[in-house]
Symmetry: C2
Subunit: 162 residues, 2 copies
């Protein structure tokens, strides 16, 4: 029961992208360098973000990734689901239908109570993730990032757009 590492990577990437000048883009290679993660693998994840409509892509020199919409309109859930999918964390294999007491599948009118409770919990989890937007994360980042790191980051970014 663990979210893939790609979730952490891509959410951080999007937070960084949210702070970029309007028409700027960062390549997978540069993003990977910034966070010190495997470039090729991060690229795969960013492609999923692109498919999910969260980021735009631009090929060629000075190309890369940029946000596809305002940070306010991108939720944490959007990003989590782009990487980890939308299927419920609980997979019901209908074991109630198996074994010596099982009867024909059409006899079961509703999903079993266990599956229903699990799905409800999964739902509130997603609802909670939906409450946080990329804009929220960006503001938290601006407020809480150590000043020294902020300076280093700005310097590093400036070096790219010259």
């Amino acid at each position: 029961m663990r979210l893939s590492e790609g979730v952490e990577w891509t959410v951080h990437c999007c937070t960084l992208l949210a702070g970029l000048p309007p028409d700027a883009a960062l390549s997978a290679k540069k993003l990977a360098e910034f966070f010190d993660v495997p470039p090729d693998y991060l690229a795969k994840h960013m492609q999923q973000m692109s498919k999910a409509g969260i980021v735009n892509t631009k090929k060629g020199p000075n190309g890369g990734y940029s946000l596809a919409k305002p940070a306010r309109d991108i939720t944490l859930l959007d990003m989590v689901e782009a990487i980890d999918g939308r299927v419920c964390s609980f997979k019901c294999t209908e074991i109630r239908q198996r074994g010596p007491s099982g009867v024909s599948p059409c006899s079961y009118k509703t999903p079993c109570g266990i599956a229903r409770a699990m799905r409800k919990a999964d739902q509130v989890w997603r609802d909670e993730l939906r409450k946080t937007t990329l804009a929220d994360l960006q503001i938290i980042g601006l407020r809480e990032t150590p000043p020294e790191q902020m300076n280093k980051a700005i310097t590093w970014l400036k070096g790219l757009f010259t």
Copy 2:
């Protein structure tokens, strides 16, 4: 991001145990037969339930597993955590500290905003699971199990305690 199959198995097993006469017990072998799942592997999971204090165990002939407390006092969360543990589904690897902009670890006063949002969502998920008790699941089972299956189950169980 998926719960292990063992969660489904053990919750179903506990629901069955909840319906047994007070001093009756069912062995891993019998439980596995009832649900048609691998006996040895189910046994491993039931041992985790035992360690978590959810079921009692009794060795020897006519031994097996029985509930360690009233169904009302066992939550779905208890059972989920017995199998899948209590660690948050999001693992923060502190990538903010890495790369060219990272600064010394002691500069970071709080967990990053992303980790905090993820933990909050994990918390509401657990809170929701805590709301459902084994007694609730038992009642739902009694109400919704097809009559034909109920009869077969009772017959099968009677065959064991003679």
